[in-house]
């Protein structure tokens, strides 16, 4: 091992401190962890969480065991902290923890933002499909287009969709949900993922006289399978103008659907395609054709978008040439359709990254101060190294490597702590925040997290780089010192 590496390591973890007084360290860890555990219990009690957990948990023994597990985690954490403080000088330990906290925050924030993006991606794909074929207006004779789409390899489903808004009255309670169709007369209807989300009743029962209701909407209106609802629709006004007496459609609730996305479940009903066409005054049209692919990969989706565009071009030109001036067919990905939401998420993630990075930069300044102090304290040692034959660059490397080691240890601890916190995020957040708040504002049932390798590479690389750079200035100072002057330093 090159001696600057060896000496840098020894400066951080001196002989005689490694594993020193392990028994005393463990004893200290026990006391401190109990103290912290009492504080945590106090926080849980003051937030009425303890009472709620006590009431909600069937087995009190299980609750006690879970609290015991909490103490064990606290003890493990305190032991690690204590061992680090025992193994390395105080300033180095503080530098390590600074980096640890910075990396923990970065990993946590980025992974949660990735989780949100991923959840939205899943929701968009599940509820809207991978691609949407639309026209400038409405799509006439969608079956012709669907046939052309199905020729493209990789397409698993192409279904015509009508959508809109309806008025709904149940037991004198009004609602104005979105409405979406299922082509129940097509065998492909069951291939739609939403068809598998019916939690009460049956998707197979959906016909021209029935309706599926989103679970949130059903709960809000206290609706159940078998109940009847009145559906009003915008065309009723047109019919009234033609002196027809428009009547709401009375439909039977045959199923409750839960997609997992509150935005859909709270405010959507599902009708048969034929019925939705009828109440919109259409016979053989569709607002769009939802295309689903075998592979969710975005790259694959983009490739097939191009393929589909080329495949539909002749049909599109033919329609326009035949006089359908709104007949030009467009192919959009789910990402293009939901561009605004995805862009907002990307911006939020980027902004959070750049804000959180400040923590790492502050920690790097801590490293710089610690190493600069070390250069001053070790001035005579620098002189000795010079007298023993060390070159200035090698002396500089000792201090630069210390910064690197601090960054490395801090980063490893930070990644571990971040992943651990994310693993138990539901329990931690749930202990202090009402999960219904998360549901209400973020539209998901659980706090989403997704790990992306590139984020880890970015965070680890940046932290490592900045820790090393923090060591460069003290290293430069050390290299400039003259051995003879250092030896005379008092």
């Amino acid at each position: 091992m090159p001696w600057p590496v060896y000496l840098a390591y020894k400066h951080l973890f001196p002989t005689g401190r490694q594993g020193a007084t392990l028994r005393a360290t463990l004893r200290l860890a026990v006391f401190v962890s109990f103290g912290l555990f009492i504080i945590i219990l106090g926080l849980l009690w003051s937030n009425h969480v303890l009472a709620r957990l006590w009431a909600d948990t069937d087995s009190k023994t299980t609750l006690v065991k879970e609290l015991g597990l909490v103490w064990l985690w606290v003890f493990a954490g305190v032991t690690i902290v204590a061992l680090i403080f025992r193994s390395t000088p105080f300033f180095n330990a503080m530098s390590i923890f600074g980096i640890t906290l910075g990396v923990t925050v970065l990993i946590t924030v980025q992974s949660v933002m990735n989780g949100f993006a991923y959840q939205y991606e899943r929701v968009f794909i599940e509820t809207q499909g991978h691609l949407a074929v639309t026209a400038d207006g409405i799509i006439e004779n969608p079956q012709e287009v669907i046939q052309a789409i199905k020729q493209v390899p990789g397409v698993t489903l192409a279904e015509p969709i009508m959508s809109g808004v309806v008025g709904l009255v149940y037991q004198n309670l009004p609602a104005y949900p979105f409405v979406r169709s299922f082509d129940v007369n097509s065998p492909d209807a069951k291939l739609d993922p939403l068809a598998r989300d019916v939690i009460e009743g049956s998707f197979d029962d959906l016909d021209d006289q029935s309706v599926l209701v989103g679970v949130g909407l059903a709960e809000r209106l206290h609706m159940h399978v078998g109940d009847s609802v009145d559906i009003s629709y915008p065309r009723m006004l047109e019919e009234a103008k033609r002196d027809h007496l428009p009547m709401p459609k009375e439909l039977k609730v045959v199923g409750i659907l839960e997609s997992g996305w509150v935005g859909l479940d709270d405010n959507t009903v599902f009708l048969s395609l034929r019925l939705l066409r009828e109440i919109n005054g259409f016979t053989n049209e569709a607002h769009l054709i939802e295309v689903r692919l075998a592979n969710d990969d975005l790259g694959h989706t983009l490739d097939l978008q191009e393929v589909l565009r080329k495949a539909l071009q002749p049909l599109s030109d033919q329609r326009v040439a035949a006089g359908d001036k709104y007949g030009r067919l467009n192919v959009e990905t789910w990402q293009e359709i939901n561009q605004d939401q995805m862009q907002i998420l990307f911006v939020e993630k980027s902004v959070m990254f750049y804000i959180m990075i400040v923590i790492v930069i502050v920690a790097a300044f801590c490293i710089l101060c610690s190493l600069a102090t070390s250069v001053v304290r070790k001035t005579r040692e620098i002189g000795v190294l010079g007298a023993l034959g060390a070159r200035p660059a090698q002396v500089a490397a000792v201090f630069c490597l210390q910064g690197m080691f601090i960054g490395l240890v801090g980063t490893l601890l930070g990644v571990s702590l971040g992943v651990l916190l994310l693993h138990y995020r539901q329990d931690i957040i749930g202990a202090f925040v009402d999960q219904r708040l998360i549901l209400k504002f973020y539209k998901f049932y659980s706090f989403p997290v997704q790990y992306r390798a590139w984020d880890f590479v970015k965070i680890i690389g940046f932290t490592f780089l900045i820790s090393t750079l923090a060591g460069i200035l003290p290293a430069w100072w050390a290299a400039r010192l003259k051995p003879a002057e250092c030896l005379r330093f008092d």
């Binding site: 001696w3 060896y6 000496l7 020894k10 400066h11 001196p14 002989t15 005689g16 005579r380 040692e381 002189g383 000795v384 190294l385 010079g386 007298a387 023993l388 034959g389 060390a390 070159r391 200035p392 003259k482 051995p483 003879a484 030896l487 005379r488």
Partner: protein, 229 residues
Amino acid sequence: MPAPILIAAGLAKSYPTPSGDLPILRGVDLQVLPGESVSIRGESGSGKTTLLYCLAGLEPVDSGELHWDGCAVTTLDAGARARSRAKSLGFVFQSYHLTPELDAYENVLLARRLAGNVRPEDRSRAHELLERVGLGKRLRHVPGKLSGGEAQRVAVARALLNRPRLLLADEPTGNLDEHTAKEVITLLLRLCSEENTALVLVTHHAGFAALTHRALRLELGVLAVAASV
């Protein structure tokens, strides 16, 4: 007669001050034969440490020539001097200057690390040297747990690890009591003799100077034979 291991000819060194250059060395001539021990005494501020640092190549000289084992040191750049110093020179300081984060064994081996890779024979030699200086049972003690005399013995072992042809000692007993100082000096001279290492010893102590082969005095920037020791 073997060639001198150290040849210093006309070494001159001065320090800049606000009122002009202050000459410290005014043409020092010194030759040391292999295995020979030479002591240099002088009053405080006479320039003994400066001379030693110049002989070690740690301080650049204003003029003169310096040769280590036939190699012209004054013509080498700082990096080459450092490399040469690591292989050919040993150094013992007044304040021991052991690395506090390393134990005795690791401190001794540090000299080898600076000179290149540590080989198994180096580890054996480090063990052996620490035994010879009487610290065979204190290998794993850090400097904070060693007495002044013990720390200086570790420094002596470190200085001899690479089998240097020349060892420079700057008042190695300056911080020790009389009894310990005598033990350390005796040890240093004996080991240098056994290793055939030339020794240049800077000391205030007349009695210790008398133990060397040759005693010199640094006066007015030049070396002269000591009138009596």
